[in-house]
Symmetry: C2
Subunit: 219 residues, 2 copies
């Protein structure tokens, strides 16, 4: 059964693939699984039909027959459990890869979202310029710790896993800033993720949505 995911009708990042549907698209491509996409407008996000699928009015969702999931981490895990290539077979290595999935979404991403909230929701405040560097210091602390652990390894723990997939996507959210550049091994880590053919297919698919909508707006 081909699953259906949801994504933004209008990409807020203009096709950079920073929204959370990108993680799910990438995981499906790593697994070699076809999928369908239903686009959701911003005005429909917080409305009944979408909230019945996603109580927080966000994307992506994942529908597969009777099953409805949300939370990109949970969807990526669902895909990773059912297909080869995203979680190691060895039980201990698998548990460690799952640890990195949670680390990406609950330890590294939240400080990066703090910066986005600051830029989107507090830019007009007189104290925004004073506060932004404080938030960026929190990001730098996490990146320094992550970079120390990664060292000169190719991936966070052995072979590429769903933990790396989510971590690379979380770090890609910094692409509008130069913060990541102070951590060269993290820069090459992200580049290594972006070089995967599954990433490229997922990226092209989400970019095509942006391009089609942009053409439509011009037409």
């Amino acid at each position: 059964m081909i699953p259906t995911i949801t994504a933004f009708e209008q990409s807020p990042d203009r096709g950079q693939g920073l929204a959370r549907d990108m993680s799910v698209r990438w995981a499906l491509e790593e697994a070699g699984q076809p999928y369908e996409v239903r686009l959701v407008s911003f005005s429909a996000l917080k409305q009944g039909a979408h909230c019945a699928l996603q109580p927080f009015g966000q994307i992506p969702t994942y529908e597969e027959g009777d099953l409805v999931l949300f939370e990109s981490g949970a969807i990526v895990f669902h895909i990773a459990e059912r297909h080869a290539g995203l979680l190691p077979r060895d039980a201990n290595a698998r548990a460690r890869a799952i640890t990195w999935m949670f680390a990406a979404l609950s330890t590294v991403e939240p400080v990066i979202i703090q910066r986005e909230d600051s830029l989107y929701l507090e830019r007009d405040r007189s104290w925004h310029e004073e506060r932004l560097p404080m938030v960026e210091d929190r990001i730098r602390n996490r990146l320094a710790e992550l970079g120390n652990r990664l060292g000169d390894q190719e991936w966070l723990d052995g072979a590429f896993s769903a933990g790396d997939l989510l971590m690379v996507q979380v770090l890609r959210r910094l692409s509008g800033s130069d913060i990541l550049n102070d951590y060269p091994n993290l820069v090459t880590y992200v580049a290594r993720g972006e070089a995967r053919s599954a990433f490229k297919r997922a990226f092209a698919a989400q970019l095509a949505v942006f391009t089609a909508n942009a053409t439509e707006r011009q037409g």
Copy 2:
């Protein structure tokens, strides 16, 4: 093999059980599994021996023979996969419970941590009083959405699961404020979690650490 977890030597919440070892203790109690605890001082958190286990210098960690895990979400999942009582057997219900685990830690907790960061790291700033209500509005938005989904159900999706365990613990972090009181069904949801005997055993165990250390400081 009895696992060893780490917890704060000095509970920053004075024994309220808000730190992340509480989720792991609670999961182990739900699973009926004994465990050992190694206490870590604040000064040791960011040092080599602990960072070898936990790259971000946090607690808890989980050691079981050769296996070392961190991230409370990943540890709770590891326990839930191996013992009955924390994840449904039905595949779809299990995937939905995992969705709530991620929702707790990557959608609800981050806005609550923003408030804690504001209180701990920005209290001395002239704009703190102006900004705090903005952050609290973000929390209220999430709580309203969560409360709408919960409705009058006992738990988020059928039987109590690891998703409820993590969500209850995340909501408990608001116990120093009155924000949660505006969402009566979430208040009773938290109380329902706290009434579980496994919760009570876990709570008593972490409180005993605080009490013993407090007595030692007085002695």
